[in-house]
């Protein structure tokens, strides 16, 4: 207990940084659920592909730290764009291959769920077996920088070296902590405003409320669904870069645990609710850190999920509980 109090700031700061990443990934779950009422279990792989896009783009341009502020910003921007495009692209592919036909045939949600889990395995194993896939084309030695150690940790050549921005008590707040937290909140607010204010956002809300009426009013439903997946994808791409800057490595199966956590954050905040995703992420990140300080690190998942159960008992729709459709401009 005294440990929690003495290190309150350190635990809070690192919990918020982790929570911001959870929140950004949770957006993908929440958006798709809000519009289609189904849980896109392939979303964790969308994130994972984004993280590899960031790594590979940095490897390709030979990024290193300590090149001056302009070069660093350019590198990070490139990594961000690469991760967002690849994640968005994979999200669109998943929608096209795993969902669209099922949706046209009015398949029950359970079928779509299985299809999503299948897509998730395929996406994860393509990365896990990329050395062999490259081998089919005889490219495994030419591409060794990208495909070597396929099932091992892959390191992100971070262009931004970690440095301490300022210290609070015993905790050094690093430049990366600040960057992660600020960019996550900025992206979250932008997305929220986009859905509330823009024309496309209105379309998303209309389909979420009542897809058939929306279609009668001239909203192109397929188009809206695609945009929803794409938005979730680019948020996951951004999350992957922020995660890499803090953690430093990624792996073919790294999405799984993070996906479970992000999904939990989405449910915690109220699935289908964009603001709830951020709140859920923060609450989960903090709960994990406080829980491990109070009882022990090995209990952190227990504490986090216990909290989820308790909150759902009293607020079955999550903390903010509203659905995407009802958030009016």
């Amino acid at each position: 207990m005294s440990f929690l109090i003495n290190n309150f700031f350190a635990l809070t700061a690192s919990g918020l940084v982790l929570g911001a990443v959870y929140g950004l990934i949770a957006l993908g779950y929440t958006l798709v659920y809000g519009v289609l009422r189904l849980i896109n279990f392939a979303h964790s792989e969308v994130w994972m592909w984004g993280s590899f896009a960031a790594v590979w783009s940095m490897t390709a341009v030979g990024a290193t730290s300590g090149r001056g502020i302009g070069a660093t910003a350019a590198f990070l921007l490139l990594a961000l764009v690469a991760a967002m495009l690849v994640s968005g692209g994979i999200a669109l592919t998943v929608e096209r291959v795993a969902y669209r036909r099922l949706r046209r045939l009015n398949a029950p949600p359970l079928i779509a769920l299985i299809s999503a889990i299948g897509a998730s395995f395929v996406l994860s194993e393509i990365i896990g077996l990329r050395d062999r896939i490259a081998g089919w084309f005889g490219l495994d030695s030419a591409l060794a920088k990208y495909v070597g150690g396929a099932r091992d940790n892959t390191r992100f050549p971070n262009p931004l070296e970690t440095s301490t921005a300022f210290s609070v008590g015993d905790y050094n707040v690093t430049n990366i902590d600040i960057l992660v937290l600020v960019s996550a909140i900025v992206m979250m607010v932008t997305l929220d405003q986009f859905i509330r204010r823009s024309r496309l956002g209105r379309g998303i809300r209309a389909v979420a409320q009542d897809s058939e009426s929306a279609a009668l009013m001239g909203v192109n439903k397929d188009r809206v669904v695609q945009i929803t997946f794409f938005l979730g994808g680019i948020m996951a791409g951004a999350a992957s870069l922020l995660y890499l800057m803090r953690i430093g490595v990624t792996k073919y199966n790294a999405g799984f645990l993070l996906g479970v956590k992000a999904f939990t954050a989405a449910v915690l905040g109220g699935i289908g609710n964009v603001r709830g995703a951020l709140l859920g992420g923060f609450v989960l990140g903090l709960a994990e850190n406080y829980g491990s300080a109070l009882i022990g690190t090995q209990w952190k998942d227990v504490v986090a999920f216990l909290l989820l159960v308790v909150i759902l008992l009293f607020r079955p729709t999550g903390l903010l509980g509203e659905s995407l459709g009802r958030s009016r401009a």
Binding site: N6, A10, S14, I247, G248, V249, A254, G296, T297
Partner: protein, 384 residues
């Protein structure tokens, strides 16, 4: 009626699943074991049991390379009667191990197993090997309790954590001169076992303890704990994937304490996960000889075969396979004969003189400390 259905359905499903498993594991039995009328038994197999994929795959692959080298050298001399390596990829997962052990036991051409590589999977699989009388020589499982179960088929070619743990503790208190130490483990059979021994050897010097999970990537609560405790050394019991990330996050947070780790972290994967700068100065203990100190032509042979220097436990894997191959060349081609042969073996190997006591422990043990210097793991000193 309803409750019966509720109970019955999962039961039937479980039964079906079980029979399905039984069917597949039985299928691989005896694929062409004996060759016609000749008195020699050929086409025998030595199983390699360990992680070839998964989070700790590097450790398993390094060992398998050593095993393959020994078998290739044997086959070059005995071209008329070859031995093959049969891989059993456990992914280092104790839950997978018993099923794999069964399929190894059912394959009658497998006369011996090099492995299981890790302690957790050894605990799960070794009782089955013992029951079947299939000899196992582990080149890397270091949990001390493994040899205390009365398994007749258990042998290992390296010192266990009962000698590695105190050696690590000795290094921490004598060489690093640390008076406040944090001990962290990953709750695995190996990691917790080793960490507990280090803890009890250091006694009151341990001021902070914590447990993490395998697969975890964010260690901020643990790092906060380490930092606020003001320790000058941290011991981590576990494998390289988590250790690397822990070390990076410690360095990022400004922790200056020296990290000391066991043999499960002694792999380049640690440096890759931590980053060259953060990994620098990490101390690794290991009951394994530095590769270039291995006897005979092992170092050169390995380099020629794989175009890489032998890594952790490659030489131990080579030795374990060599013991069995010696037995096979002397005509001990049944499981019972080979088991008796291994138990009474006494010859020099490339790492040490190979001789086992009644519990299957090696008679000779050396512990080395290695240090990450210039993004490479280099031998530091022998801990005596």
């Amino acid at each position: 009626m309803r409750p019966i259905i509720k109970l019955g359905v999962p039961l039937v499903a479980a039964a079906l699943a079980l029979t399905a498993c039984g069917g597949t594991s039985g299928g691989t039995a005896a694929a062409g074991s004996t060759s016609g009328g000749s008195s020699k038994t050929c086409d025998l197999k030595i199983g390699f049991f360990g992680a070839l994929t998964g989070d700790a795959a590097n450790l398993g692959q390094n060992i398998q390379n050593g095993v393959k080298l020994a078998v290739d050298q044997y086959n070059a001399k005995n071209a008329d009667c070859k031995v093959a390596v049969q891989p059993y990829d456990s992914q280092g997962d104790p839950a997978v191990a018993p099923g794999l052990a069964k399929s190894a036991i059912d394959n009658k051409s497998v006369v011996g197993i090099v492995g299981p590589a890790f302690s957790g999977e050894s605990k799960a699989a070794d009782p089955l090997f013992n029951e079947a009388g299939l000899v196992t020589i582990t080149p890397s499982a270091t949990n001390p309790a493994l040899s205390t179960n009365g398994w007749k088929t258990f042998f290992r070619v390296l010192g266990n954590d009962a000698s590695q743990g105190p050696a690590a503790a000795k290094y921490i208190s004598d060489t690093l001169k640390a008076s406040k130490v944090a001990v962290v483990d990953d709750a695995s059979e190996y990691g917790k076992g080793l960490a507990d021994i280090v803890k009890s050897s250091l006694g009151a010097k341990v001021t902070t303890t914590d447990t993490v999970q395998t697969g975890q990537t964010d260690f901020s609560p643990t790092v906060t704990k380490i930092k606020s405790s003001g320790v000058t050394a941290v011991f981590y019991g576990g494998y390289y994937a988590e250790a690397g990330l822990l070390k990076k996050q410690m360095t990022d947070a400004g922790v200056t304490a020296t990290l000391v780790v066991g043999d499960g972290v002694k792999d380049d994967g640690f440096i890759k996960a931590a980053g060259d700068k953060a990994a620098e100065g990490t101390i690794m203990t290991c009951p394994c000889l530095p590769a270039d100190k291995a006897g005979g032509t092992f170092f050169a042979d390995y380099k020629a075969a794989y175009n890489a220097e032998p890594a952790t436990y490659s030489a131990e894997g080579f030795d374990a396979a060599k013991v069995m191959l010696d037995g096979i060349s002397e005509g001990k081609t049944s499981r019972a004969d080979l088991l008796a042969y291994v138990a009474s073996y006494d010859k020099p190997g490339v790492t040490k003189t190979l001789k086992f006591d009644a519990k299957g422990e090696p008679s000779q043990v050396t512990i080395w400390a290695y240090k990450v210097t210039g993004a490479k793991i280099v031998p530091d000193q022998e801990i005596k």
